[in-house]
């Protein structure tokens, strides 16, 4: 209570907390209003109330999608092979993005950068890789390798290298100093101090991050398909463009099944890593 003067209410006083919350909500409402106004003035099609008044158009799509194209689902293997294509893109992208980021992150961490000028250089490189949109990277890669899942895979590798690099480097910077000092005291060189001083501390978080980003990369793999990356996204886009809503529903079912099951698996994997300490020994 030392900081409270006679006039000001204590920080955690309910009425003051309510006031802060009210100001926050008021600010958000004002921002939403102005932003929607901006869009509305730009194009009167962007009237937000159309989401409510015209929502029956969305519902009208549902009868058109019924029933899903069962022939596509069970008649042949094509759909399921497309699914493995998308899964492969996400898996390879996550794995090799993780491996590349693993080599870069020690240069992008302040406490392990071998040369001082490498730190800002590596950080900037990672920022550019992270920020450059996936689809732009893919359209550049397409110049070299042509359309197909390989271009999508390379784009995901580049994008997730940037993402992982930042997370990994932050994890390396947050490690305990004592262990590195302890290892260097007994005469470990740079590689050995990383292998025995830092790696045991950060490996679980690395792998957990990769499990988490596998899901995000799966979404990216579907989206890249739209730009010609192959897999489910490509076929979904074609079904949509040709107004084949029953085919679209079949693809949607597969996408939902795939995402839900991979999320379950990666949840289990993360719990295993943290609770059982599989990598901590």
């Amino acid at each position: 209570m030392s900081k409270t003067s006679a006039t000001a209410l204590p920080y955690d006083h309910p009425s003051r907390k309510n006031k802060v919350l009210l100001y926050a909500i008021g600010g958000i409402i004002l921002f939403e209003f102005l932003a929607f106004l901006f869009f509305y003035l730009k194009n009167s099609n962007n009237n937000p109330f159309r989401l409510i008044t015209d929502f029956h158009h969305v519902l009208n799509l549902i009868p058109e999608m019924m029933p899903p194209n069962f022939h596509l689902l069970f008649g042949s293997w094509d759909l399921w092979l497309n699914m493995t294509e998308t899964l492969s893109m996400a898996f390879l992208g996550t794995l090799f993005g993780g491996i590349l980021a693993f080599f870069l992150c020690f240069m992008a961490a302040k406490n392990t950068a071998p040369l001082p000028f490498l730190y800002p250089l590596a950080r900037t490189t990672l920022a550019i890789l992270r920020v450059a949109p996936d689809y732009a990277i893919m359209l550049i890669i397409v110049i070299a390798v042509g359309f197909g899942p390989f271009a999508g895979t390379l784009a995901i590798i580049v994008g997730s290298t940037g993402m992982f690099g930042k997370f990994f480097a932050d994890a390396v910077e947050h490690t305990e100093k004592g262990e590195i000092e302890g290892v260097s005291t007994v005469g470990a060189d740079w590689f050995q101090s990383i292998r025995y001083g830092i790696l045991p501390q950060v490996l679980p978080s690395f792998v957990a991050n990769m499990c988490f980003f596998f899901e995000i990369n799966l979404g990216a793999a579907i989206a890249l398909g739209v730009f010609g990356g192959g897999g489910l996204g490509f076929h979904l886009n074609i079904a949509n463009d040709s107004l084949n809503y029953r085919d679209m529903f079949a693809y949607l079912i597969v996408i939902l099944l795939m995402r839900i099951s991979t999320e379950w698996i990666s949840d289990k994997g993360r719990n295993f890593i943290f609770k059982e300490g599989a990598l901590l020994r």
């Binding site: 920080y11 099609n45 450059a132 732009a136 359209l139 390798v145 949509n240 996408i255």
Partner: protein, 273 residues
């Protein structure tokens, strides 16, 4: 009697080295299979990469005359990402209350969890297609798609945070006769506020990426500019657009880092006092 060290090792199953080797072989097999499915073609890449780089030299000379217009598009994309974020957070909070076992009966919780899982599994791009089929292309379907994605992702995280609240805290609120809404206002909201703040600012960054992507498939903004210039082989313009995106995301990251630290520090202060 002391146990023989050998027995302990045997009780732990195969040695660590052997486990690692098995893991490596397993990963290698999966990599080979997935590489076959993803049509990985390293020789073509090596052969054609120099030509690809030579053809994309336009990226090195950004077209600065397009800078003001592209800044406008990036601002559009920023609004596209910022508008649905608070809406999504508030709705996600409501969904989270309906999806936590300690606030609602179990059947309600399970049904809500199912809805959230479905929402999260639906890619933003697919939601966008649906909305665009009904509402036409433009900012509106993009906003709706990002809001749905935000709800799906955040409501699970919030619900997990609510379910981690200690049962005894609810008991103590019952003891002093707090109503349901008072419990939510004075127990649940303070308990998950750090999660809300941290996740929200991270979400803005993710939504910015999503907004760029949705722009490319019809919502407009910088994503549309990038794909259009790319198709027209105007690499100088794409390069400028990427630079503008870099500047915007850099500023957002710095601001959100600052805000997050400030708000979380305030929260901590009010908790410790």
């Amino acid at each position: 009697m002391k146990p023989d060290p050998k027995d302990i090792i045997v009780a732990h199953g195969p040695s660590r080295r052997k486990q690692n080797l098995m893991l490596m072989i397993g990963i290698a097999i999966v990599v080979v299979i997935t590489a076959w499915r993803a049509e990985v073609d390293i020789p073509t890449l090596i052969r054609d990469l120099p030509e690809g780089i030579a053809r994309s030299q336009g990226f090195l000379i950004p077209d600065m005359s397009a800078f003001p217009k592209l800044t406008g598009s990036a601002f559009y994309t920023l609004l596209l990402a910022l508008i649905p974020t608070p809406i999504g957070i508030i709705l996600a909070f409501l969904f989270a209350i309906l999806a936590s076992a300690n606030l609602v009966p179990a059947p309600v919780r399970n049904v809500t969890r199912g809805i959230i899982t479905m929402k999260r599994a639906l890619p933003e791009y697919v939601t966008m297609i649906f909305m665009a089929a009904a509402l036409g292309l433009g900012a509106l379907p993009g906003i709706a798609a990002i809001a749905v994605g935000t709800i799906g992702m955040l409501s699970k995280i919030f619900a997990d945070a609510i379910e981690e609240i200690d049962e005894r805290q609810f008991d103590s609120f019952d003891c002093i006769g707090a109503s349901y809404w008072q419990k939510i206002r004075y127990l649940v909201i303070p308990a998950i506020m750090p999660t809300i703040v941290a996740q929200s600012f991270f979400r803005i960054e993710l939504n910015m990426r999503a907004a760029g992507l949705l722009g490319a498939v019809g919502a407009g903004g910088i994503g549309y500019e990038i794909t259009r210039s790319m198709m027209a082989l105007e690499y100088e313009r794409v390069s400028t657009a990427i630079i503008v995106t870099l500047i915007f995301i850099f500023i957002i990251e710095k601001v959100s880092d600052f805000m997050r630290r400030k708000i979380l520090a305030d929260e901590k202060e009010s908790l410790t006092k």
